[in-house]
Symmetry: C2
Subunit: 203 residues, 2 copies
């Protein structure tokens, strides 16, 4: 669950329920009835608060996507060394997907299903020129292997995310139980940053 604060009012309860159902089933697959059930209201209330399914989905999507974009951009323009910045970036990405793997799969699913809707949701943002400068310098100095800014972001984010997405897949294929997977999840979370850094830094 993304938003964990206790939901006292109906509107908030609907939103939490919508996130859960939408992330699991996707927009097309989600049923308004399921969202209503989980929020312990009837279908009519959904429409009262969020007009229709599209509005509700768009609202939830915007929350989701801005979370991603924030994480992509956050701290990239702060005034710290590139090593610190990379450490923070990696740990933020891992935390995002560690706590919200269903959200990430939802985003992947929707991005191939309806790319125009998806594009509509992406907020405007400027390139992070400070980090780009730092990265160029670090590469010039031989600290970091050669990447463009975009390549670097895609590469690092990828390495942070996937191991946590594929849980149910691996559990099924390798016949792991939930406990085995949870142990491995925690192990990965601890080990991954070191392994990622080994892949981007020159020794």
């Amino acid at each position: 669950m993304v938003n964990k604060k206790p939901d006292n009012n109906t509107e908030q309860r609907i939103l939490e329920a919508a996130k859960t159902i939408l992330f699991k089933d996707g927009i097309q697959g989600a049923r308004m009835q399921d969202i209503a059930d989980l929020a312990k209201i009837n279908r009519a209330m959904l429409h009262y608060y969020y007009r229709d399914k599209e509005s509700l989905s768009e609202y939830v999507m915007k929350t989701v996507v801005s979370k991603f974009v924030e994480t992509f951009k956050e701290n990239l323009n702060s005034d710290v060394s590139i090593e610190e910045k990379i450490d923070l970036y990696i740990s933020q990405e891992i935390d995002l997907v560690y706590n919200n793997s269903e959200l990430t799969i939802f985003a992947l699913h929707e991005s191939i299903r309806d790319i125009d809707f998806f594009k509509k949701i992406i907020p405007e943002h400027k390139k992070s020129t400070l980090f780009a400068t730092q990265l160029s310098k670090a590469i010039e100095d031989g600290l970091i292997k050669p990447f463009t800014l975009e390549e670097f972001i895609v590469f690092v984010s990828s390495l942070c995310m996937f191991p946590f997405l594929a849980g149910p897949l691996y559990k099924a294929i390798l016949h792991w139980d939930e406990k085995r997977w949870q142990i491995y999840r925690r192990y990965l979370r601890r080990k991954l940053p070191e392994l990622i850094k080994r892949a981007i830094y020159n020794k």
Copy 2:
């Protein structure tokens, strides 16, 4: 598309259409009408050949999952050195997802949506004891960093897959066009094995 051979008969055409639609929309989201349209037949024919949506989905899912499992297991028991085996394993995983990223997202999506259905599909398979032995020895010899067999498989597979799954996501967030993404895809495919190996081998 997974199966590329030309489809001369109706049954095959339906199957190809079903894969395309199911991979894009998921089982719940897919419409029988869309599958029928793509296969250039009417809905009744779908039911004639594959009874109902569940049967059709199960049939497609079995194809998908066995593809995964084969790739996971293939060559792990062949009689070659562990270095060769790892090279082959990495290139096979990358090829699988490079050519079938929608399939992979479909599998991820369905694995969180209905894990019981998913489990029903997983074929029985034995553990790969030969590779396990080779891996233990390579770790003992200091060639490879310490992993259990399962950890190794999950880790390497993860690194192979995600970069190719997130294309539409990155395209949207980074405002890349299709051409930019295609160039990066090919770059990744070439570079990834080296980066993965750097992460698993001791120097």
